[in-house]
Amino acid sequence: MTNNPFPLSRDDLLTAYRTMRTIRDFEERLHVEFAKGDIPGFVHLYAGEEACATGIMMHLTDIDRIASTHRGHGHCIAKGVDVHEMMGEIYGKATGCCRGKGGSMHIADLSKGMMGANGILGAGAPLICGAGLAAKFRGDGGVGLTFFGDGAANQGTVLESMNLAAIWNLPVIFVVENNGYAESTSVEYATAVDSYVDRAAGFGLPGVTVDGTDFFAVYEAAGEIIKRAREGGGPALLECKTVRFFGHFEGDAQTYKAKGENEHNRAHRDCLKLFGARVTAAGIVADADLALIDREVAALIDDAVETAKGAPLPGPRELTTDVYVSY
């Protein structure tokens, strides 16, 4: 038996790979399907950033809550939201997790602790302080994590929330997924500090920056921070430096990127390839194990797309329901 050098069991490694592969295939497939014109509205793809959501969410259960972003599909999948319901939602179908009323930017499943993707940048930070406050009052050991990009890191809501979480010692983690771009604007242009961890210090929070394409780096840093928050040690900031394989939204020509940037990232900074190489080189997982997962995930995504395409649209009565609990 080969000695396992990783902080996860073989089963957990396979689970992590499956989650990342599911996110990747989900997004790659949406890229193709969106171009066909069948998907309404705006779609923001998470491909390239899979190790961030997965490395963090491996430490969470349903009592833990997350607030996501407009680029939320990866967070949803890693938090356990059903892939078929997500796909149905993105197609605007009655079978979607929000019955077709939310769409890509508002996927939520409160039963899984997923408090919603969010079309407003930085809006999740105050909300997750509330989740942390509720967990603290209940004393259930739950934690809250808010995800935001390098762009939304400049929103006042995020900064106010870091202070609030710090003074109330809330079990809340601020996760900056720094993919280098706020829409088309570079992080170097829009942010004066070199690292968001410098800002954490300004709010009295511990912070750590990791390579967000390295699943293990994310997993280990997140594990420590989450454990600390769960035990009453208070909030922290985690910056994951990552890459965005696609544009801000589908249809973005990405002319602001350097020539060859996407190709370089796919060749050298692909978290799935990096993960696969490490676990197979260590002899813990065989190429065939990963290939089997690849086939199973491909079949799952195929089925999710076909099911969503064939699913019924919401009926006209749905227009005016669900505005209030009672009115």
Binding site: R65, A67, G96, C97, C98, R99, G100, K101, G102, H106, A108, D109, L110, S111, M115, G116, N118, G119, I120, A123, A125, P126, L127, I128, C129, G130, A131, L133, A134, A135, F137, R138, G144, G156, T157, E160, S161, N163, L164, I167, W168, T321, D322, V323, Y324, V325, S326, Y327
Partner: protein
């Protein structure tokens, strides 16, 4: 025997009773306790005007003073509501909505709909509204129409101490987000308020005075103003019915329409600015649904299309007065002294 307490005491009592009844009720806001972390006494203020004074002694850390970060703590109240708590957040002055509106109208108001009916957000946001305190343009507005416009929010504005208690208890028990508007000029007004707990259902207007010649519709401070106008009108033989809307969303159209069908005349009084206001809303609804009953064009008495001025000489002109209401009624009855 009458138990006269103030509008302010009635609100305090409603908060106390609901905190006793339900352990998930928590209070958040700037200085709602007062003196947090300072060397002097705790509960130094109980809110800037003392509305929550004394609650900290009874409920301890379920009242939380917040930093001056409205987006963060209003948002935290909303997030906690989505996670099973029933927070009552105090925004102090409704004018401060400008620094936290996203959390209210894009988050709290939309969760239920956007998430396909699966969320509920039982948060109450209390805030002072209205002019009359010489507090100028950024601490005196009646911004009720902005909130009434937003689907998913409920909007409440009591005109007296009895309603303040019953409507706030309902607001806390309600499963939807509620904007609870407290008119600062009414804090000292007293009414006979029962000691026990009671809830006033939303969407039920109150006919505070019966009449047969004209219907006066208002909410908040405009209700006592309309009652004063009704006294004046009675002396010239005009019988005015006065309707207190109590809640602006939901709104009790039936009571308004039924009254106008009886009186044939409508004057709506709104302390908000005139465009896209409750005044225009009620006038339009009545014109559409009771046109045949109208003997004259509906009239509106509102603040002017200006910010709230500071100088007492100007602010007193800004707020709809009983005299302006009487004049508007005379426009509906014509130059002839009395209604038919």
């Amino acid at each position: 025997m009458a138990r006269m307490i103030s509008y302010k005491q009635a609100i305090n009592e409603a908060l106390d009773l609901e905190m006793r009844r339900d352990p998930t009720v928590i209070l958040l806001g700037e200085d709602i306790v007062g003196g947090a972390g300072a060397p002097g006494e705790m509960d130094a203020w109980g809110g800037v005007l003392g509305v929550t004074k004394g609650l900290h002694a009874k409920h301890g850390n379920r009242l939380m003073d917040t930093p001056l970060s409205e987006s963060a703590y209003i948002g935290a109240a909303i997030g906690a509501a989505a996670c099973g708590m029933r927070p009552v957040a105090e925004l102090m002055f409704l004018d401060f909505m400008g620094v936290c509106f996203d959390q209210i109208f894009n988050q709290a108001a939309k969760f239920k709909y956007m998430f396909g009916g699966k969320a509920k957000t039982p948060v109450v946001i209390r805030a002072m509204v209205g002019a009359g305190f010489r507090a100028a343009a950024q601490h005196s507005q009646m911004l009720t129409p902005l909130f009434t416009h937003i689907p998913g929010l409920k909007v409440v504005c009591p005109s007296n101490a009895y309603d303040a208690k019953g409507l706030l208890i309902q607001a806390i028990r309600d499963d939807d987000p509620v904007i609870f508007c407290e008119h600062k000029a009414l804090y000292g007004s007293e009414a006979d308020v029962p000691e026990e707990s009671y809830a006033i259902p939303f969407g039920e207007a109150n006919i505070v005075r019966d009449g047969k010649d004209v219907t006066l519709v208002g909410y908040g401070l405009t209700v006592p103003r309309a009652l004063a106008a009704a006294d004046t009108l009675a002396r010239s033989g005009i019988s005015a019915e006065v309707i207190d809307l109590r809640t602006l969303s939901p709104i009790d159209w039936d009571t308004v329409i039924e009254s106008v069908e009886n009186t044939g005349r409508l004057v709506v009084i709104d302390e908000a600015n005139p465009r896209c206001s409750l005044a225009t809303d009620v006038a339009a609804y009545v014109a559409q649904h009771a046109f045949g009953a109208l003997k004259a064009a509906p009239q509106m008495v509102t603040a002017p299309h200006t910010p709230v001025p500071f100088s007492p000489a100007l602010e007193d002109l800004y707020i709809p007065s009983a005299e302006a209401i009487v004049a508007a009624v005379h426009k509906t009855t014509g130059p002839v002294k009395s209604a038919a």
